[in-house]
Symmetry: C2
Subunit: 490 residues, 2 copies
């Protein structure tokens, strides 16, 4: 029996109740060790069965000689053993009734003609046996909702709404690692590998109906059936933003891509024009994928291009206004009534305009007043707030110095100052998130400082999260792309 | 007596042997506390005299009622007391024979017409008394070579060759703070404030002859005498790269700048064309100032635009090649002899070209072999190396997981693995730095991981340092600007 579309198995294999690791190992650094230790240390919610004919026990779990020796059902098998062993293992997978295999093993179509033929062979075997095949030559998958972290890189992002599909395992996993560091919630990561059975388009079609996924992030070199991809994306993108980094956009990149994924490229100019027509959020740099993921998954969409800027320091307001201007965003003059309200908190000589320069005020109320006044006004679609969250870092280093040099200032007082700053920052974020819910406009933060707290700062029980980029250009870029997307869907 | 050019005092005031802080305070968060505690905690090499008529002792030092009560000579006075007190204090500074004052106090030309008049008045007072005046409305100065960290923000970069001059204290200090985090060595920071006496151009002229300064980084909104500035920069830039972020380049930014520094802008298009003609490295984003600082201060200059790419992961090679292509850099095919030499270390099916894709090899020798083979070849002007330094982070998280889940792997073995990775990374950096000295070509690293070790990784006793950016676009940007600069000076 040949099953035409094994994508029907995705629901099970991305939420498995039991997985086997074929080639599981205790040899530090081997793929079978990387994957197994990651799955176990990540506290996978289901059962884990190591398979290795030479071992009795691995990581304290009984090891099975063969997959078919496992006394319980298995949904998904990770395979790390050499290419030559794969046909026999697939036989066992079929016998065992496994729903899918993640084939980490390389040495297939990415190598030579023989590898290509062999890949075809094992792919038909999978079809015959009803096995959904991810890979081969994949770096694995991550399913945060069941705590399945099954990749060579031990990165474990929190659960959330961003799905990553990458034709480069290395690049894709680095993105997910950054997502983890930045606090971006992930619904799924798939390294699509050689795409013997499923292309990125197949995963996108699955994600379209995955209720956990709100944003789809792609790294692709090879577009395969470009037309089908674009048809699917055009449809999905209306519901869920699709953000794409295309590797091999240039002659030099294309040459590199041919030897990497065997992508033949095709006419790039035509393709990119088609992407733009499909509304796709087509980015230039890998880090943009993260910035857009953070913003689109955590903030209400901006419904227009009019920006209010609130800044603790004048210079930052100036460069942010410059960048807004260059990206087609507008900094409108604000009405006298807003100037008056904010002015109550500031010295006489404040800027009295947009950007609202808080001239380094230590007053803790005015940043919130300024943000709310701007959000309230129907002449503004979004606010960029600079330097309010992040100031904590400055206070911290001041406290360290003070402790060191001034014995007359009590340690308790300094502890209080530190706690107060921390509380203020938390309170400010909570307030911003509340205001976003009320006004349904984004407030994009710029911390200016490496806060070690991540870009996304969730607030318990809230729909939106605080988002704080390191620098203004990142915030402006996200806002500009939000405006593009809003235009596309409305 | 009116002294025409008090810039002659810069040598003394940027290397003072004794400083006074007028308005010194133990009240946490006051300017007089920020500055004094920073100077003391930073271990300034000279003497420090707090001045405050109401205190007997501050931070354990005797406090003086007036500057003139100090029994020893004072080179430089920091003043934080209100504007109204300044004339009397300047009288005392004159009497004391101080060489310069850093006037933190605000409330001058940045406020209103009266403020402008008052600023003129105190500036002539300084001229009469032979006092070089920095500010007013400045956030201070940093002179790492004498360990004088005299700003409100407690950031203390290591000594090095990059000088920062900023018309925005807030933005400038944030840059210096990032420089500290990234390990970029600094020769001087000056917040030029309202520039009552000295413009950025005056500081640039000083820096031209400062042997410690190799690179000059500017944030400017107000160009004052644009022609004089350009004449000076044109001359200096041939010797020392001048990197500029111009705030207020756009209509929106200009409006913001007028209320910030009172900059009237002038014709921006004309100005920018003139900058380009003067060869100035004119950047768009604040973070570029740091990236260029790191690269220009640590690497030999690229003498052409031909790039070799060495990468642990194929996808990263592809996006780097794309970005090189977009920025006018070329990725030449490499000769068979190089392919052969590198191929000895890699599996049969490796890319056999440039980018050199090391296909995730765990062999520790081949990255160095590949980099050296490329540097040796006269068809290459620079190498970008991706993911070799930074892998340590992956190894670290693997070790954490392994410890947690596999009791059969000994803790000593894992400690060894960790030490080995650390040693390898150190050794790789040392080797790269050595190769840069031999071949006088830059090797620009991309770590891909937040290493917490900074961008610049110095090697003891060496002229060059390792440089590792987080992402390829930063590395490519620096290389592209190096090529521009090399063309300009050659």
């Amino acid at each position: 029996m040949i099953v035409d579309n094994l994508a029907k198995n995705f629901g099970t294999i991305f939420n498995p109740e039991a997985v086997a690791v074929i080639g599981a190992s205790s040899t530090f650094g081997k793929w079978g060790q990387l994957i197994l230790s990651n799955i176990l240390a990540g506290n996978f919610e289901g059962k884990v069965f190591p398979v290795n004919p030479k071992e009795k026990s691995i990581c304290g779990l009984p090891a099975y000689k063969r997959l078919t020796d496992i006394p319980e059902p298995v949904d998904l098998a990770f395979i790390t053993t050499p290419a030559g062993t794969i046909p026999d293992i697939l036989e066992e997978c079929g016998e065992k009734g496994v729903k899918g295999v993640v084939l980490i093993t390389s040495g297939f179509s990415e190598t030579d003609e023989e590898g290509k033929r062999f890949e075809k062979h094992i792919t038909s075997m999978c079809r015959e046996k009803g096995l959904a095949l991810i890979g081969p030559n994949t770096m694995g998958i991550i399913c945060p909702y069941v705590k399945l972290f099954a990749t060579g890189s031990h990165t474990r992002p929190r659960e959330g709404s961003v799905a990553f599909v990458s034709q480069s395992g290395n690049l894709g996993l680095q993105l997910v690692h950054w997502a983890e560091e930045q606090g971006i919630g992930v619904s799924l990561f798939v390294g699509s590998g050689n795409e013997a059975m499923f292309s990125c388009t197949d995963y996108i079609e699955y994600l379209e109906h995955d209720p956990r996924t709100g944003i789809i992030v792609l790294y692709m070199e090879n577009m395969g059936g470009g037309k089908h991809f674009l048809d699917v994306v055009r449809k999905v993108h209306r519901k869920k933003p699709v953000i794409l980094l295309k590797g091999g956009r240039t002659e030099a990149g294309r040459t590199a891509a041919v030897s990497h994924t065997g992508s033949m490229g095709g006419n790039q100019a035509v393709f990119r024009a088609a992407c733009r027509q499909a509304g796709l959020l087509d980015v230039r740099f890998p880090t943009e994928l993260l910035d857009l993921s953070a913003g689109f998954s955590s903030l209400p969409l901006a419904r227009g291009n009019r920006v209010g800027i609130v800044t603790l320091g004048g210079g930052w307001g100036v460069v942010t206004a410059d960048e807004c201007n260059l990206r087609g965003l507008v900094i409108p003059d604000i009405p006298d009534s807003i100037v008056e309200t904010i002015g109550k908190y500031l010295p006489q000589f404040w800027s009295k305009g947009n950007p609202v320069d808080l001239v380094g005020t230590q007053d803790l109320e005015v940043p919130i007043v300024a943000v709310e006044e701007l959000l309230k006004w129907d002449g503004i679609d979004a606010v960029i707030s600079l330097g309010i969250v992040g100031r904590l870092e400055l206070v911290r280093s001041l406290i360290v110095s003070t402790r060191e040099v001034d014995a007359s200032i009590s340690s308790e007082f300094l502890d209080q100052m530190s706690a107060l700053s921390r509380e203020y920052e938390k309170g400010y974020i909570a307030k911003i998130v509340e205001l976003m819910e009320i006004y349904e406009k984004p407030v994009i933060g710029v911390s200016l400082a490496n806060t070690n707290e991540g870009t996304v700062r969730p607030v318990a029980g809230k729909k939106y999260s605080g988002v704080f980029y390191l620098t203004p250009e990142n915030a402006v870029n996200v806002l500009a792309r939000m405006v593009d997307y809003h235009r596309f869907v409305s």
